[in-house]
Symmetry: C2
Subunit: 265 residues, 2 copies
């Protein structure tokens, strides 16, 4: 199947363009790849705050605060992930948000890559149209600079198809996944092992040396542990000479999300 046309500098590649392709992709047929549901099609100030994105009033969380906060039960795994991303991602980089959801990670990534020369890029995707719309709405509210927002390219496609939207000749520094249901959302709308495995394989191919695949796996729903098994199995299978893969998780909170980080050496 040929890749869909790339639309750089276009904030949203409307679903009408890609949905037909999506429907023809057997690997993404329901129920193998049910869409994650976005929390809301409307961004709110509370969402901006909850996203943990730095504002004038709320500075970015440093690594020490994030890690010690996680160890002491005061910070979430996603805050550790963002702190790690900030240490690895540079201005001008190309990154991928493979599961946009409500756009929190998309915005965090945009802040990391956006530079004055307009070289940074965020490729975002989610199989559900409303998630893409929610992310777009969120970005419009959270990012005043039009040029900066244009660094984001959103696609309503399954995460397993990420190679189709990222230009082949561009080194990718980071691919971020949030797997499972969205916290506060409908737990029956989830990512699933089959397409997640394909997505991880694709991410490992497009990632540049020194880059990171970041996978936050929510496991507090039916099927969540199966998906964690797939991610762990994939991570375990990568050779130690070219990959450093680690896992961070709570031990006495059985349904707490698990953070798995895969670094391509």
């Amino acid at each position: 199947m040929p890749p869909p046309p790339l639309h750089r500098h276009l904030l949203i590649l409307r679903s009408q363009t890609l949905t037909p392709l999506l429907r023809r992709n057997p690997s993404c047929d329901p129920p193998l790849c049910r869409p994650r549901r976005c929390l809301s099609a409307r961004a709110s100030a509370a969402q901006v705050a909850a996203a943990g994105v730095a504002t004038a009033q709320q500075p970015e969380l440093g690594m020490e605060e994030a890690v010690v906060g996680f160890v002491t039960g005061k910070r979430k795994a996603t805050e550790v992930a963002h702190a790690v991303w900030r240490s690895i991602v540079r201005k001008g980089d190309t990154v991928v948000d493979a599961t946009c959801g409500n756009g929190n990670d998309t915005l965090a990534l945009l802040k990391m890559v956006a530079d004055e020369r307009g070289q940074g890029r965020v490729y975002g995707m989610d199989i559900q149209d409303s998630a893409i719309e929610s992310t777009s709405s969120f970005l419009k509210m959270a990012v005043n600079d039009d040029h900066q927002r244009e660094l984001v390219n959103l696609f309503p496609i399954c995460h397993s198809r990420l190679e189709e939207i990222v230009p082949k000749d561009v080194p990718v520094r980071l691919v971020a996944f949030n797997l499972g249901y969205l916290p506060g959302g409908d737990k029956t709308l989830i990512t699933v092992p089959r397409t997640t495995e394909l997505a991880l394989q694709a991410a490992s191919r497009i990632l540049s040396s020194g880059g990171l695949i970041s996978v936050l796996v929510y496991i507090g729903h039916p099927g969540g542990r199966d998906e964690l098994d797939v991610v762990e199995s994939f991570a375990s299978s990568l050779p130690i000479d070219t990959w450093a893969n680690c896992k961070l998780q709570m031990v006495n909170r059985p349904i707490a999300p698990v953070l798995i980080l895969l670094n391509k050496k």
Copy 2:
């Protein structure tokens, strides 16, 4: 059994004093509690460097460098542990090195608690006499200040008996464990699940609110995974309202040591 007499400000409580008590403690009888072997009874400059303790030439590793280094396969779990300890331990604190081994952690802890008023304390123990001697020798080489060295109290006893050497009325900020064999040492001389479980229970009792139990579990030897199971089981059993327990491990290095951190809220 009454606790042995406490010898504060005494660098080494000689093994002759405690060995008879130790032999009478059924929980520490061989083979349940075989001693960990120290690498060498003589400290060396290389060991000081390998300990990762800050010197004029070698600054302390920050949290960001430790965590990103671990994620990228360039730093060890023990370096992450030390960075977390530095964020939690304060000058003047009382801490415990439950498995001195060759003294690296003992020295790192001493540097964290030693203050000019002489209030910090490190209680160190190891069931093997030669490990205590090695730690003492290492401290003599690495710490020029006699008064600072006197903040360390070393005991040749099993880690399961840590309550016997730490004064009851003193809040303990951190208890550190290095479980298994010592890297480079004899893999047949290991800590074992039964006494490790007792030691963790004791550590959880003496730890003050806000304190940390840090457990680095080496698993690349027969019995290593059994001991990891015991530590994980203990960590999982602690209630979430009073404990935040997390785990950090490599995923594609099956025998890499696992770091488990238990924070008492």
